[in-house]
Subunit: 296 residues, 2 copies
Amino acid sequence: MDLNQELERVAGLIEWRLDELLSSEPAPSGQERLIEAMRYAALGGGKRLRPFLLIESARLFGVAEVDALDAGAALECVHCYSLVHDDLPAMDDDAVRRGRPTVHVAFGEATAILAGDALQTLAFDILSRPSTHGDPSVRVELIGLLAVAAGVQGMAGGQALDLAAEGETLGPMEVAKMQAMKTGALFSFACEAGAVLGRADDLARGALKAYAAAFGQAFQLADDLLDAEGDEEAVGKAVAKDAGRGKATLVALLGVEPARARLKALVGDAEATLAPFGDKGGTLKDAARFIASRRA
Amino acid sequence: MDLNQELERVAGLIEWRLDELLSSEPAPSGQERLIEAMRYAALGGGKRLRPFLLIESARLFGVAEVDALDAGAALECVHCYSLVHDDLPAMDDDAVRRGRPTVHVAFGEATAILAGDALQTLAFDILSRPSTHGDPSVRVELIGLLAVAAGVQGMAGGQALDLAAEGETLGPMEVAKMQAMKTGALFSFACEAGAVLGRADDLARGALKAYAAAFGQAFQLADDLLDAEGDEEAVGKAVAKDAGRGKATLVALLGVEPARARLKALVGDAEATLAPFGDKGGTLKDAARFIASRRA
């Protein structure tokens, strides 16, 4: 199957489930705006790469995709909450995302802060429900893993490092660490959550974590390459944002060609980690190649 | 025992446990500021009323306070996160809390947003750990209840109603609903969580939820009375904030004397709900009287 089609199909499933989960929240008078902002933030766009990785990882252990959908939706809620808060004027101050006004531009700052807060809460709410998994010990394990991935040791800590780094000169070690926390932690959760849902053994779980680490780095490097190369191409596009802000990227530190070589090596690493799964690992291998070659 | 002393003793335990939980987060280079802001927000002040209610509710069913401490600390993390975000310039724009600069004044807005986010995450992290309770199904029940209390149906939804109400004329029904969500939901969680930890039967759980509802309303009314009455007393105190902002309170709608009578009735209600617990309910009865009579 073509990976692009498969990504779109799974993204459609996640979109549908998120819509359901957000529709089941009654919106009595006065709260419509908050719910609307949460829906705006969570629906209508995005490749849903993180839930895709979760679903595909779970599939390795025979978990039907419908049984991994809620965990994927919860993960996407955390990702979307982080985008809403990162875009705020006090943070990255971004006015446009996915071709639309960001949440605070469309709904105001107060509602954007609240919508982000409530999306994070919703993620843990979803994970606590039996629809995520019948076994409470599986649900509580997912919750603990997501909290660590999203918190000080992960995403929030990475964003703090990113903020602290503006105007500073970071070396490649520091940039890699910041990115591993800020974006890598949720990719890592995605793959590990699939293993938890599938009650995988430690070996398989370790292999998936190694895959996620390579995938996360490749994703970030590809993103930074797109940003850097856009600069040399069409004028007037919202690219070269990172350089303009003085944000450190590995591409800036390594140079474009060495970064490209590193990206290729990372995809090779990601593929190699999947060896224990044989043919079943094909989709995840394709996903690693896909994110490395994307042009938008 | 004197309730004031008991409150201080339990507050000291919560402070100690929060300090431990926040110290166990390693703070590598670049993240010190985030951790420092989280500690600033969560430590050093507050009556810790919510964890107190949780611990005292659990005690009714024979749960030792040390076994309710982590659930109480998690609840306090959510309360503190909400204070940090509510104080932000885009929200209530408060510069002082508990006699100290608010988090965004002390650490900047970006760090305040992140610290609030990470405190919410930490709350669910704590609840997912075996130290909260040995049985995963108890932990996952606490997580689900806290998520509902903190989310769109509870605290965050109430804050959205509060924001939407500025400049509007709310009736008493709407004010009561907003307050039940914004502040009542966490009090309700506190008492219900105690019942969950104590594996209480539905009857006892229902009684505690009724107590929490009366307690929450009494707490809010006492708070509003303090704000309204301070106005007539000393000049130069940061009181009459609500009226100055055009925020609707039940005191403004009912008048001071009727509000006082209503407060007394609510304390009576709270006490009555505790009848099933006999003498064991004494501390919670004292707590309802205490918050109704506080002068600061």
